[in-house]
Amino acid sequence: MLSYLLYIDPGSGSYLVQAIIAAVLGVAFFFKNILTYIKHWWYKLFRKKTKTP
């Protein structure tokens, strides 16, 4: 198994893991964006309410 690894292209071993990592990051960024949007919306709402006399 080790000898097999010694003969592969140095980058190709990381191709599959990159695809998985990129997919996980995509999901993480998606939820992060939603969270940022909610925070922003909440902040705006809160500011509007405090401004009204």
Binding site: Q18, I21, A22
Partner: protein, 458 residues
């Protein structure tokens, strides 16, 4: 004798190589890399990288200096005066190099190109900052393919930085043991459990390491990728590295000058003597051995002397690096160097990365308040110290601290024994084979003396 000499470390990349012609550094671009290199220039990437000081600039030479049929272009890059290696950098220096490499990749992506090589040896310290030196590391970007240099980046940068961050310990020497980068399975084993709870570290190191043990199928190489995925990957690596730090401030010699400042006259008078001496010498380059946080190195840099500030203490050099950045000093190179074990030559034929003593050749060597630690603390004879210092440069400014000095007494009382005779006569006798004394001054208010010496031509 041939006027062309190939660089011993430039043989892995088929795109071209580095060589010296009449002693001047050049880079050949091979015909096989013609399309990518033309794209590199025409896309504006080269100009962008130069404008942002990410890449070392070059001049095109209208000559085939090697006479090779493979030659497409010959470049003359700006030469870095002193080549240093990642195992001689402090934590924050490696971190800057890592972020620079990612910045280079990001810049390349804006021009539809990609970084194909993310070796830490492609980055050098130059004029107060890290700079990328491999002009042939940029190729046309195939957005459908994952990043070819991803694993190399993780092994050369991410793994050592993560280990230093999580273990809060200087581990630059690991890079000397693994010049091809830290193997990910080993890094995974060394990392503590809590590193798994950081999403970026978990993905790029733990998960990556698990996959690197798996057999690669042909179908894996046909995995499709996208621009957005690539950008996410680079941003995630960047966030991960930004979050790392080496916080401990208590290196062996950190804070030395805070203590020394309690003796202000001593430092001022020593400074005056040295300043007088260096004003009378025509100096361009120097090394400060045992530089600590650079108090006396900055005396040299203020005189426009290109200075290497070397110390074996990682934390002191990291502090010195931060000062260099803060004060925007362009002629000081911070360097981790253990006088008792300078970096050896490593790599193919032991000539890919040169030893420290092969790389160093300066006008002045300065060793202030150092030799008593080597004699008493490490039990190294004067002759051996003199021999090593004589290999570094022509002039030597050296401080001798006698047995009667408080600090030496403290060392002796703490159990350190002097196996070699330790007095001024033995010191001068030991140095006489390699150096001739030009001047001597006693530092008023202390028992210490400073000597200016000239190297003997043996």
């Amino acid at each position: 004798m041939s006027r062309t000499k190939l660089h011993p470390a430039s043989f892995r990349d088929p795109s071209g190589f580095v060589f010296r012609f009449d002693g001047i550094l050049h880079r050949q671009v091979n015909k096989s890399f013609q399309q990518d290199f033309d794209e590199f220039l025409s896309s504006g990437l080269y100009n962008n990288l130069i404008a942002k000081k990410i890449l070392i600039p070059h001049q095109e030479i209208d000559q085939n200096l090697t006479g090779s049929d493979l030659q497409y272009k010959t470049l003359k890059p700006v030469e870095i005066p002193f080549i240093s290696y990642p195992y001689e950098w402090s934590f924050d220096m490696l971190k800057e190099a890592a972020l620079l490499t990612l910045q280079a990749a990001k810049e390349a992506m804006t021009c539809n190109m990609m970084l194909k090589d993310a070796s830490s040896y492609n980055v050098q310290w130059h004029q107060g900052k890290m700079i990328f030196i491999d002009t042939l590391s940029f190729e046309k970007w195939n957005t459908n393919k994952p990043w070819i240099a991803y694993r190399q980046f993780c092994e050369h940068f991410l793994a050592p930085l993560a280990l230093m961050h999580y273990l809060q310990s200087p581990l630059q020497n690991l890079q000397l043991a693994y010049p091809e980068g830290l193997p990910l399975p080993l890094s995974k084993k060394l990392l503590p459990l809590r590193s798994k709870f950081n999403l970026n570290t978990f993905l790029h190191l733990h998960l990556h390491a698990s996959f690197s043990k798996k057999q690669v199928k042909k179908s894996d190489q046909n995995i499709s990728f996208s621009k957005a995925k690539q950008e996410n990957l680079i941003n995630s690596l960047e966030n991960c590295i930004q979050s790392f730090s080496l916080n401990a401030h208590t290196g062996v010699w950190s804070g030395y000058y805070n203590e020394a400042k309690e003796r202000p006259d001593y430092l001022t008078l020593k400074r005056e003597i040295i300043e007088n001496w260096i004003n009378g010498l025509a100096l361009q380059t120097a090394i400060d051995v045992g530089a600590n946080e650079g108090e006396f190195s900055f005396l040299l840099t203020e005189k426009n002397i290109q200075t290497l500030s070397a110390d074996f203490d990682h934390y002191s050099i990291n502090q010195l690096y931060k000062k260099v950045k803060e004060k925007n000093i362009v002629n000081c190179t911070p360097l981790i160097m253990d006088f008792t074990n300078p970096s050896p030559s490593i790599g193919v034929n032991n000539e890919e990365r040169l030893s420290f003593l092969e790389r160093i050749n300066v006008d002045l060597v300065m060793a202030l308040a150092v030799i008593h630690h080597l004699i008493i603390g490490k039990n190294i004879p004067f002759e051996k110290i003199a021999k090593c210092l004589s290999k570094m440069g022509k002039y030597l400014i050296i401080e001798f601290i006698p047995k009667e000095d408080e600090k030496v007494k403290l060392m002796i009382n703490s159990g350190m024994q002097i196996f070699h005779e330790y007095d001024e006569d033995t010191f001068l006798q030991g140095f006489s084979t390699y150096f001739t004394v030009l001047k001597k001054e006693s530092i008023p208010g202390s028992d210490r003396s400073i000597f200016l010496m000239n190297r003997n031509e043996l």
